[in-house]
Amino acid sequence: MSMHYFANPTRFTRLAGRIQPWAGGLSAVLLAVGLYLALVAAPADYQQGDTVRIMFVHVPSAWMAMFCYSFLAVASAVALIWKHPLADLAAKASAPIGAGFTFLALVTGSLWGKPMWGTWWVWDARLTSVLILLFLYLGYMALWQAIEDSQKAAKAAAVLALVGAVNVPIIKFSVDWWNTLHQPASVLRMDGPAIHPSMLWPLLIMALAFQAYFVALLLARIRMELNLRRIRALRLAERAS
C-alpha cells in the first residue's frame, strides 16, 4: 500500500472515524489501570519515598513531548518533499498536543525536583533543552498564526520544525554528554531497563495510555483542520460567485 493511499482526505476521514473511538476508549481504560498501579499498587522507592510516583506521569509526558516533536518533524519533511496533502495538517494538529506534554514534563519535573534535588529548576542541559523544545512548539504554532497564506505558512512552519529537530537527540543524550542533576535513562538503554518490574509495568501502561490519547486527539484535530480547510474553500467559492 503506498503512502498516498491515505493521502485521499475522504479515505482518511473514514478510517480516522473508525480508529478514533477505539483509541479514546483504550486510553481511558489504560489510564484508569495505570493510575491505580501508580498511586496504590506500586511500592514507594527506598531512596525517594513516594515522590517516585511522580515518575509515572513525568516520564510518559517527557516521552510524549519528544515523540510528538519527532512526529511533527517527520510529517513536515513529508509535506515539504512529497507534498502529501495531509502531512502539513497532521504536523499542525500535533503541535498543541506536544506543547501540552512538554509543559507537563517541565511542571511535573519541577514538582519532583523540589523535594529530591532541593530546587524547582536548574539551568542544566536536560532541563534547558526541554524548555527550548517548549519554545520550538510555541514558535511553530505562532508561525502558522502569523502567516495568512496557509501554503506559505505550512512551508515556513515545516522548515522551522526540521531545523528544530536537532534538539530531539540533544534532549535524549543531554544526560550523557553533560554533567546534570537529571538522572540518566533507566528504561530506554542499551543493556535493558534498570528499573524493577513493579515500577516498570505501571510506567509502560501509563505510557501506552498517553500514546492512545495522542492518537485519538490527533485524529480529531486533523479532521478539524481538514474541515477548516474545506470551510475556507467553500467561503472563497461563495465570495467569488
Binding site: I54, V57, R221
Partner: protein
C-alpha cells in the same frame, strides 16, 4: 480512615505528588475537551455551509 490519611499524605510528599497528578489530568482533560469541541464545531459549520449551498442551487434551478 487512618489508612486513607496515610494514602493522602504520600509519606509526607503529598504536597508534590498530588499536584503533579492533578495538573497532568487537568491539562489532558482540557486538551481533550478543546480538541473534541473544535472538531465537532467544524463538522457543524461545514454541514450548514454545504446545506445552504445546496438550497441555493435548488432555488437557482
Amino acid at each position: 480512615m487512618e489508612s486513607f490519611m496515610q494514602f493522602a499524605e504520600m509519606g509526607g510528599y503529598g504536597g508534590y505528588v498530588w499536584p503533579a497528578f492533578g495538573i497532568v489530568l487537568a491539562v489532558m482533560l482540557f486538551m481533550w475537551i478543546a480538541g473534541m469541541r473544535g472538531w465537532r464545531k467544524s463538522e457543524q459549520v461545514l454541514a450548514s455551509l454545504r446545506s445552504s449551498r445546496r438550497q441555493r442551487e435548488d432555488i437557482s434551478e
